[in-house]
Amino acid sequence: MLGLETHVELGTASKMFCSCSTVFGAKPNTQVCPVCLALPGSLPVANGAAVESAIRLGLMLNCSIASWCRFARKNYFYPDMPKNYQISQYDEPLCTDGYLDVAVETPDGPREFRVGIERVHMEEDTGKTSHVGGATGRIHGADYSIVDYNRAGIPLLEVVTKPIEHTGEFAPEAARAYVRELRDLVRSLGISDVRMEEGSLRCDVNVSLMPRGGTEWGTRSETKNVNSLRSVERAVRHEMERQAGLLDAGQRVVQETRHFQEASGTTVSGRSKEEAQDYRYFPDPDLVPVAPSAEWIEELRATLPEPPAAKRARLQAEWGLSDEELRDLVNAEATDLVAATVDAGAPSAEARKWWLNELSRRSTEAEISLSALAITPAQVARIIALVAEGTLTNKLARQVVDGVLNGEGTPDEVVDARGLKVVSDDSALGAAVDAAIADNPDAAEKVRSGKVAAAGALVGAVMKATRGQADAGRARELILERLGAG
């Protein structure tokens, strides 16, 4: 049995309870104020944009939206938490009881799972602690710790699944598929940039096993802060194998929190639940209840985008893709990029070809995701257009991509700056043709005498002289014309 708790960092301009900026990567402790530093006397005020994002995600996940709910304080001491309590939601979440359908590839073809959504609630992030000195980077053994409060108060949505059963041996793949589907859904809503490498989507993974032929689920473990799709899959697989090993050896599984080790793909024991904290939750008296009106919820429902699964089906039909072609596109995380490129005017086949071949290769080389490449779908569409109109050859187009990725400007700017335009202007080309004829009298003579095939050598000479920028077809026309064979 699986359970996932996913934290989504929202992309609102300001923090959950104050007006500080949320931009990632600023100098430590520069995006802070009395509220998010918890100075005495300061008070939180809920960010309406964050509430709106939460409702929209809840609606996308088919949840019921509470007409009245409160924030709660989760009390525990930790240096990266300025108030020593976190404002979260406890027994009155904003969104409850929804679902998300996900598909998993199996040797017997795709299988669909419906993942029940228990709740979506709002909370604030903590500051970020770095432990300096010591071998592990963890607090124990560190010489000292430094805290950056820029992250303190960033709005988070926590999406909690109901227990996911019946995934059997495909549980790791199902977990990954769920997180990917959730991520795509969040991205389609535009409420977060969901960059897992920046920690804007983090998962806690619960796993428990049922003995073959048994009827009850065993003790579960909770693995914290699993921060990539691949890690989600590996963490679940490792926990299944570890727990199965224990059970097979007649040992018991301990209910505990575990940490995922990125390097080894394993989990190690953290705090055991026996010493679990009492968070002393109670409704936060500083904040008025959130009470979205039915009209507002309906207004927000009208702003919902096409769900990613529906969009994929539509694109498959529109672009005439086979299931395999669609799967390649999805696995390459290229669907939205190709769609945006098509929206910018490119034919779908060309757009697909560029993103899946040339650009996928570049992203692999740079070890970044496809969407992190420094080229936009609109720029790719422009390059495709330049090839189609004959201004660029495919080879030149790849040089334009180099330029754009290098930060040299837009495709047109790169073409100009690097002088990459195909030479089709007749006067420039004419000079190159004349020179080729003069330099290759034998070939010219053969063409004059009717052996048109010999023109190839002359075209080659023109292309060589123009460093490949000539329009080969036009060059051929000019050669035949001049030699009276046209």
Binding site: L43, N84, P285, D286, L287, V288
Partner: protein, 499 residues
């Protein structure tokens, strides 16, 4: 000239400054001199910066000379409870854990005082984090009652009440969580109001119990209190619980002072056993006085008020246990034991052990316990149910009467030290005031004479529905005027510190 300025009411002083009869600088200087003269005995202030206060006063004089009209209290000095943040003065909430802390921001109440042209003389003493009824819980020494220096000035806003009663300031701010304005006002012979919860902003008020804390005014008369109330109240977008409604017409009500036909309810449960006889006597006389002024008086029962005190002592400590968690030595305030060998947790623990006083620790422990899993429903949960019942009692009562009245506090000022080791006896001082905090409605205390047995002031509490603060001022002003007619002088003129 000095004594004459001190004797003026705040409204008179504001008028005199506006007409050029005197200046803010002269008035401020007179009060600063008075502080030098008497505060050694009274110890109302934790911080006074003479030069800064005079500079503020001269700036207001200059603004007025340029034709600015900041409001009727422009240029009038005010004493500010040390629980409100002030950029230009330390803010400690009378706790060691914040010794010397200078906030980088002003509380909304502070900002509004400045905008209205009031001159902040300094910060007043209080019970640590506003927890107490006597100022004996201050980490910086006890404030004394100007009527009798061996007695308490009330609390938690005891520095503010003593400052106004000793003529060290014409006005003062306070905060009322369970009676922390009304009780000190009553025992010092002053007017003190607890506005409707959310009617005045909590932004920059160092929190004790967030769902109860309410900033309010102290003054020597009802009109002055109303003017200060109006000056700093009103909606604040930085406080989520702030009410987005106009400030009730309190100044107009204080001027009107007419209660003909008003329906007054005497709360049966706040009258009788356990009260000092002289307090009850003055209270009953005042009720008769109200009747004589044309009010229709009836007895009203609020059966759940009997459980209010117990509910309060679960809710307030629960909230404070969480509110005070932020004092952890990490970002501001005291830090104990940070010698490079101790962990953050150890430094936090040492700092809190040394920085908090015994009453604060008692309430943190009480609240932590009340919120613990397994106890939550029995304690915090039940207390919230009582709170709902108290609100219902008020709603029912205000269905048949316009205001409710009771003594403000069961006794007059008690001797310093008498209840210091008996928290239950101390908590009883807030018996009559707590219901209005639980319900969040408006209440005011106005002097209603001196108790015959000890010659100390007695307060009448007037309670009105939420956002009907003006009614409390109307009744308060009527009582004040009738007593002045009856006695030929105001109450404070009988104090040892009268000027």
């Amino acid at each position: 000239m000095g004594a004459e300025l001190l004797r003026m009411s705040a409204s008179e002083l504001g008028a005199a400054i506006r007409t050029g009869e005197t200046t803010s600088a002269a008035a401020t200087e007179a009060y600063l001199d008075r502080i030098v003269e008497v505060d050694g005995e009274v110890h109302a202030f934790l911080h006074v910066d003479r030069e800064a206060a005079l500079e503020q006063a001269r700036a207001v004089d200059a603004r007025l000379a340029e034709g600015a009209e900041p409001g009727p209290l422009a240029g009038v000095p005010v004493a500010h409870k040390d629980v409100f943040t002030t950029k230009d003065m330390p803010t400690t909430a009378a706790s060691k854990i914040l010794e010397g802390w200078r906030p980088p921001y002003d509380a909304t109440v502070t900002t509004r005082l400045r905008e209205a042209g009031l001159v902040i003389l300094g910060k007043t003493n209080m019970d640590e984090f506003a927890m107490g009824s006597s100022t004996e819980n201050s980490a910086y020494g006890t404030t004394r009652n100007p009527w009798d220096l061996s007695r308490i000035p009330g609390g938690s806003s005891g520095g503010s009440s003593a400052a106004v009663a000793a003529y060290e300031a014409p006005l003062a701010t306070g905060t009322d969580t369970g009676g922390s304005i009304r009780q000190p006002a009553a025992v010092c012979g002053l007017v003190g109001a607890k506005p409707t919860y959310g009617g005045s902003s909590r932004y920059g008020l160092i929190a004790f119990a967030s769902s109860l804390d309410t900033p309010g005014p102290f003054a020597r008369n009802v009109l002055d209190a109303a003017m200060l109330h109006e000056a700093f109240s009103g909606h604040d977008p930085r406080d989520s619980t702030s009410v987005d409604a106009p400030v009730p017409p309190v100044v107009e009500a204080a001027r009107r002072a007419d209660i003909e036909g008003l329906r007054v309810g005497v709360v049966k449960e706040l009258d009788g056993e356990g009260y000092q006889p002289g307090v009850l006597r003055r209270f009953h006389e005042t009720v008769e006085l109200l009747e004589g002024l044309g009010a229709k008086v009836a007895e009203v029962s609020c059966p759940s008020f009997g459980a209010a005190l117990a509910a309060y002592y679960l809710i307030a400590p629960s909230e404070c246990s969480s509110n005070l968690a932020r004092f952890d030595a990490m970002r501001y305030g005291l830090r104990v034991g940070d010698d490079g060998t101790r962990s953050a947790e150890e430094v936090m623990a040492l700092t809190r052990a040394e920085g908090f006083g015994p009453e604060v620790k008692r309430r943190i422990i009480l609240g932590t316990y009340a919120l613990s899993s397994g106890y939550y429903d029995a304690y915090y949960g039940s207390a919230q149910q009582v709170r709902t019942l108290v609100k219902r009692d008020f709603d029912a009562a205000f269905g048949s009467v316009d205001v409710l009245v009771s003594p403000t506090t069961p006794t007059t000022a008690f001797p310093i030290g008498e209840r210091a080791d008996d928290p239950m006896a101390m908590y009883l001082a807030d018996l009559c005031t707590i219901p209005s905090n639980l319900a969040g409605n408006a209440a005011l205390s106005v002097p209603c004479g001196l108790a015959p047995e000890d010659g100390l002031p007695v307060g009448l509490q007037i309670m009105a529905p939420a956002l009907a603060d003006d009614r409390t001022y109307r009744v308060g002003a009527a009582v004040e005027a009738a007593l002045a007619r009856q006695n030929g002088s105001d109450l404070l003129s009988g104090s040892a510190f009268a000027v």
